[in-house]
């Protein structure tokens, strides 16, 4: 549910705390206990004045907003994060956990790009486990139960100590929009925001909206509906929705989600549930951490229990009292409420996880029991489950409906195509989940900063990262239900593994994006070089099968196979570990022991990744051919059928690669588009060259002739 909190609220929200454009030196900055962080150096900095022009304004302080603000500041932009309540920054609105299958990959990638959530998870985690441990490293799902308070503390302390980042408590009334910069595509340009209550305008070159469930949010419990983005929090200002829809003409849709009731821990008989223990050696999310904050033996367990026929009965009896469930709005197919679970799959027993909410928390989170019926019936329902026979509800579950912006209106940089400088991230783009939000937030924030600093925006390919898969799916296909990441969405899953996210993304993040610190960059280079050296050393061990047998007597090596094998070949065997090879050849291999597991994975996956490579290169070439965003497909003087033109106009793919993935685009259409791209690129080049020559005053005499030719050519084109 409300995976992002936000900084937008109604006019009458009392928490507004902004003094003036000129003298805001004592802007509210919550004092936090200084974290003696083992995990990251906390740098204190002096707060910036709010009065001046910001490069980037981020609206919302949830998972998307915090990553966006931090990333923008890392890239070098003067950044302002506006949130409704500073103390809810980094709040986990729904489940107290991070990662999982598919989602864990996103956390690793956000960390590889120097984002916050991986390190925050390592700090706040109280129960670590790698899901899918027995199914192969490509689909391992690092996951942790979190202590809500610790997570929030970490995020807040990180943000408040990030240079160039200012945090402001307030709510945004509207976006300031003006005429576009004619040099760039787009119909509008964003120039800042106006705050509620007093109409303060704050200007910025770019704005990132991360409104989560707050955009025209309404809450549902039983038959009552009230405006709100999260229980206890007002929804965003109607002015904001109005700007998006009416002023900017964006298509929006409505989605719903929900959260379960929180249960009083002491009222649950956990002896009736199945104990579920964490990994005995917790694996940190972050590539920078060697261990987690929580000691292995201090981790808390989870409990597993099941629904009973009584649960189904209560759901059926209360259907007419449940207006959330009766609505047509699309909810998450992947995280359904207990109502939709029993209605879709009747007569079954469904899993319910009882998860701790924190080290000192008195509450349990019943994962799988998201519900929206009246509170008294919620109580009846949970009491149908044996361990909760006498359970008490602390806070009832509820549903949320909210607006999202159809994400096909965004570029792969997560910028609204029609509006220069406006970026969106998180649930506003139709996704669900903390990790999906964080990933988009980071990317939108980095790009917003680049835009503000007049640097070209950057994109991630679906061939190199799950973040790329996520963004490409969103902007080129759109959503019909809340979008959640799965490993099966990634075509190149065997190459995009959680273990190698740093190799894939950290160098790019430093060299091309600028969102990675040099410390992390240097570390990733060290890792990359060591792995490379180790693989070379393994390949240099070139022995006959009989010699291998002598060296590793315990390994069954068939002699019928090729007579010479390298160490790398051996490492691909199921029962051969790097440790075994290193003890057989200590002089060449023992220095790489810290990478034992990574080397084993690299060895096993190498042949498959090599196979993927050709296809990846092909896709990347196509993705490098960009289609201008301002093309009028209906008048484009190339041979395209009306249907194809319509599809292209609706989706506006940003690259030829994206165009080829659209349903209904024909080979002939792609060839013709390709020609168009070639021609426009060539024209641009010619134009550039000409300008260059003009500038240097050595313009050739035949320029007029050239121009004439060009005109002729254009006339020709237009005739058809």
């Amino acid at each position: 549910m409300g995976h992002e909190s936000n900084g937008v609220s109604n006019r009458d929200t009392p928490s507004f705390n902004f003094y003036s454009d000129r003298c805001a030196s004592h802007m509210l900055r919550k004092k936090l206990p200084f974290l003696h962080s083992l995990l990251s150096p906390v740098s204190r900095h002096v707060g910036h004045l709010a009065g001046h022009q910001y490069d980037v304004i981020v609206v919302g302080g949830g998972h998307a907003g915090t990553e966006a603000a931090a990333a923008a500041a890392r890239v070098g932009a003067e950044t302002l994060l506006i949130t409704q309540k500073i103390h809810t920054i980094g709040a986990l609105s729904c489940n107290p956990s991070l990662g999982g299958v598919g989602k864990g990959q996103l956390v690793k990638e956000v960390d590889a790009l120097d984002g916050l959530c991986g390190r925050a998870g390592d700090w706040a985690g109280i129960h670590f486990s790698i899901l899918n441990r027995r199914k192969g490293p490509a689909v391992w799902g690092p996951r942790a139960q979190l202590d809500r308070q610790r997570y929030r503390d970490f995020i807040q302390s990180e943000l408040l100590s990030t240079p160039r980042l200012t945090v402001l408590e307030g709510s945004v009334e509207e976006l300031l929009v003006t005429e576009p910069n004619p040099e760039e595509p787009g119909h509008h340009r964003v120039t800042g925001i106006r705050l509620a209550n007093g109409s303060h305008a704050i200007s910025a070159r770019s704005v990132v909206l991360t409104t989560g469930t707050f955009l025209s949010g309404s809450l549902f419990v039983g038959q009552t509906t009230s405006p709100g983005g999260r229980i206890g929090d007002a929804p965003s200002s109607p002015g904001l929705s109005h700007t998006l829809r009416e002023r900017l003409g964006l298509r929006t849709g409505r989605l719903r989600t929900g959260t379960p009731p929180r249960i009083v821990k002491d009222s649950v008989d956990l002896s009736l549930a199945k104990l579920h223990l964490p990994d005995s050696h917790p694996t940190p999310f972050s590539f920078l951490n060697t261990h987690t904050h929580c000691k292995p033996e201090e981790q808390l367990p989870c409990y597993l229990t099941f629904t009973t026929p009584g649960v189904e009965r209560v759901v059926r009896e209360s259907l007419q009292l449940n207006c959330h469930i009766q609505q047509d709005t699309k909810g998450p197919r992947y995280c359904p409420s207990i109502e939709s679970r029993v209605l879709r799959f009747p007569g079954r027993s469904h899993q319910v996880w009882l998860e701790p909410e924190g080290v000192t928390s008195d509450l349990l989170y019943p994962q799988g029991l998201s519900m929206t019926m009246p509170p008294d019936i919620q109580l009846r329902l949970i009491r149908e489950i044996p361990p909760m026979r006498r359970a008490e509800i602390h806070t009832p579950g509820y549903g949320v409906q909210y607006d999202f912006v159809c994400p096909t209106q965004l570029s792969p940089a997560l910028q609204v195509k029609s509006t220069q400088g406006l970026f969106l991230a998180g649930q506003i783009n139709g996704t669900t989940g903390y990790e999906e939000a964080a990933a988009q937030g980071l990317w939108a924030g980095a790009n917003a900063a680049r835009w503000a600093l007049s640097m070209p925006t950057v994109t991630l390919s679906r061939t190199e990262s799950y973040i790329g898969v996520l963004i490409d799916d969103l902007v080129s296909r759109g959503v019909t239900e809340p979008y959640r990441m799965f490993t099966s969405r990634a075509e190149f899953r065997t190459s995009l593994r959680p273990d190698n996210a740093d190799l894939r993304l950290t160098p790019k993040g430093f060299e091309e994006v600028g969102c990675v610190s040099s410390v992390r960059y240097q570390e990733s280079l060290r890792v990359r070089n060591s792995l490379q050296d180790a693989l070379t050393a393994l390949q240099a061990l070139f022995l006959s099968t009989s010699s291998w047998k002598k060296k590793l007597p315990s390994v069954p090596i068939s002699e019928t196979k090729s007579t010479l094998l390298t160490g790398l070949d051996l490492l691909q065997y199921n029962d051969v570990t790097f440790e075994m090879l290193a003890s057989a050849f200590p002089e060449s291999l023992s220095s790489y022991m810290e990478f034992a597991q990574r080397l084993k994975i690299e060895a096993v996956y190498k042949p498959h990744c090599d196979l993927n490579k050709k296809e990846i290169e092909r896709i990347q070439r196509e993705e490098n051919m960009s289609l201008p965003q301002d093309i009028d497909y209906f008048s484009l003087p190339v041979s395209l059928s009306d249907e194809v033109r319509e599809i292209l106009d609706r989706v506006r793919p940003s690259t030829l690669g994206a165009a080829t993935r659209l349903e209904g685009i024909t080979p002939a259409a792609v060839v013709n588009l390709l020609n168009y791209v070639r021609v426009t690129e060539k024209k641009k080049e010619t134009h550039r060259n000409q300008r260059h020559q003009e500038a240097r005053g050595i313009l050739k005499v035949n320029l007029s002739e050239k121009k004439e030719k060009k005109v002729r050519c254009r006339e020709h084109t237009l005739k058809f």
Binding site: K614, V638, A668, V679, F720
Partner: protein, 510 residues
């Protein structure tokens, strides 16, 4: 199935004029993965081969190979163990199967090292004898050379285009060419997909997709959801069965091939226009029942013909009309289906129904045509010419030729044999054009393509078995590759489709 959209030729030309300014621009990749359902088809490093000469009876057939492994193919099939022959020189060699070293044929081989070749890549040409058996054997032998795979339609041309080897006029035709190719492929696919073979592939494809969905569900959800333990075991059984079935099929692939060996000519038109009479005339025997009763022919009547050396499969179909008779309605459905799959349609019209004025006759025919066929090539046959007054007949004959929007028009009478000879000449030249056209889907090539995809599919299923217990991600990768390989034959498969199966079959929560 390939997506199909009509392309307007005139507008294409406009694009080409703009191409003129782009000479010397870097070569780009042309086609997309999803468009022709063949992503790997366009990877540079692949080496492709195909029969480049026309299909049908011919003395010499040319098989072309292009790509980095061309030299390998030359070495192992033409016995150049030491060094390669001098470039661009024809040499007479024995052509052998690299697996069995059996001699397949004696023919000319030519070696074109890059960049001086048609495609700009290393290329080899085999000039062999034109019999279908020799061609099939050579294509299959090439398929067994590592790194080689059958070309997708038009791939040589695309590579040539990418290498900057095509002149402007040739580029000009490329859009039309690709459109025509997809058209030819579509017809061929339709033909195969509506048959027994199509149902078989479709069934495999459905079962494989289900396997993949279940493995994916197990990977993405089993940690947090109730996915019954038996799921993977059932997948194991399915995968094993499928692998065995596909391997068996690969050993038995010659069955049914011959049926697809000719130009598909379909006779269509309104009831009682004389379609069956035309069939009987063409095959010179009473293959179809002929009567003056409208709606005599209810099913498709097929007969194989040798038309001046070209294989033709002629089908007579039920007359097109709205009917309340169930059997006849089915006949009409089948007739329309045949027309859809045809390489050439003979639209038969009863001349007596023509308006007497020529202008109105042309309009009438145009409208009639649009009601019978949509895309495929056709000839208009005006039957029962003997029923027309001599004067009108001559006028029609003269003035309907070359009227815009009408195909070739032949005025004949099956009763008196009038005009039949001229009609045969026109038909023969049309069939000849079709056969000489390398775009016309040569069945051996299609067979070789299918074979390659099926082999890859079976190999990928073996990968599933190999990794099943150690690494499910790699095992699933095997099923994925199997699904895409089969998808090249039956149509594409996307991630969303798999997710849909997952959610249909399982109760999935978070």
């Amino acid at each position: 199935m390939l997506p199909l959209r009509s392309v307007c030729g005139g507008i294409w030309r406009a694009a080409v004029h703009t191409v003129r300014t782009s000479r010397g621009a870097p070569p780009y990749r042309l086609l997309s993965s999803t468009c022709d359902g063949a992503p790997a088809a366009l990877a540079d490093a692949d080496t492709i081969f195909a029969l480049s000469s026309g299909h049908g009876r011919c003395g010499v057939a040319v098989v072309r190979v292009s790509g980095p492994a061309s030299a390998t193919a030359l070495r192992c099939m033409a016995g150049f163990t030491q060094r390669l022959p001098p470039p661009r020189t024809a040499l007479l060699r024995s052509i052998t199967d690299p697996r069995s070293t059996e001699v397949l044929d004696r023919g000319l081989v030519l070696w074109f090292p890059a960049p001086r070749s048609f495609s700009g890549e290393d290329s080899v040409e085999f000039h062999i004898h034109g019999g279908p058996a020799v061609i099939t054997a050579v294509l299959q032998a090439l398929g067994s050379v590592p790194g080689l795979r059958p070309a997708e339609a038009g791939e040589f041309t695309r590579r040539a285009f990418q290498a900057g080897k095509l002149g402007l006029t040739e580029v000009e035709g490329l859009g039309d060419l690709i459109h025509a190719e997809t058209e030819a492929q579509r017809r061929q696919a339709l033909r195969q997909m509506s048959g027994e073979l199509g149902r078989l592939y479709q069934d495999w494809s459905d079962r494989l997709k289900r396997c993949l969905a279940h493995v994916e569900a197990f990977i993405d959800f089993s940690e947090d959801e109730l996915i019954e333990d038996g799921v993977l075991n059932r997948v194991d059984v399915s995968v094993r069965d499928l692998q065995a079935e596909i391997e068996r099929h690969l050993k038995d692939e010659r069955r049914g091939e011959r049926l697809r060996g000719g130009v598909q000519v379909v006779i269509a038109g309104a009831t009682n226009a004389g379609k069956s009479s035309l069939l009987n005339k063409l095959c010179q025997r009473p293959a179809a029942i002929v009567s003056p009763i409208a709606g005599t022919t209810r099913d498709v009547v097929e007969t194989a013909l040798d038309l001046g050396g070209f294989p033709v499969l002629l089908s007579d179909t039920a007359g097109l009309r709205d009917s309340s008779d169930l059997v006849e309605r089915e006949g009409v459905r089948r007739a329309l289906e045949r027309v859809e799959q045809a390489d050439l349609t003979l639209v038969v019209v009863d001349s007596a129904h023509l308006p007497s004025e020529v202008d109105r006759a042309a309009a009438f025919l145009r409208e009639h045509l649009s009601s019978v066929i949509r895309i495929s090539r056709c000839l208009l046959v005006l039957n029962k010419a003997d029923l027309l007054p001599e004067k009108q007949r001559q006028k029609l004959d003269m003035e309907l030729r070359g009227v815009s929007g009408l195909p070739a028009v032949c005025l004949i009478s099956c009763q008196t044999n009038e005009g039949l000879k001229d009609f045969l000449t026109v038909l023969h030249s049309s069939v000849k054009t079709l056969c000489g056209d390398p775009l016309f889907g040569a069945p051996t090539l299609t067979q070789a393509r299918h074979r390659a995809h099926l082999q890859r599919c079976a190999a990928a299923l073996a990968q599933y078995q190999r990794y099943r217990d150690t690494d499910l991600a790699l095992a699933a990768e095997g099923v994925r590759v199997a699904v895409t390989s089969l998808g090249r034959i039956t149509g594409r498969v996307g991630a969303e489709e798999i997710l849909d199966i997952i959610f249909k079959d399982f109760c999935i929560g978070k």
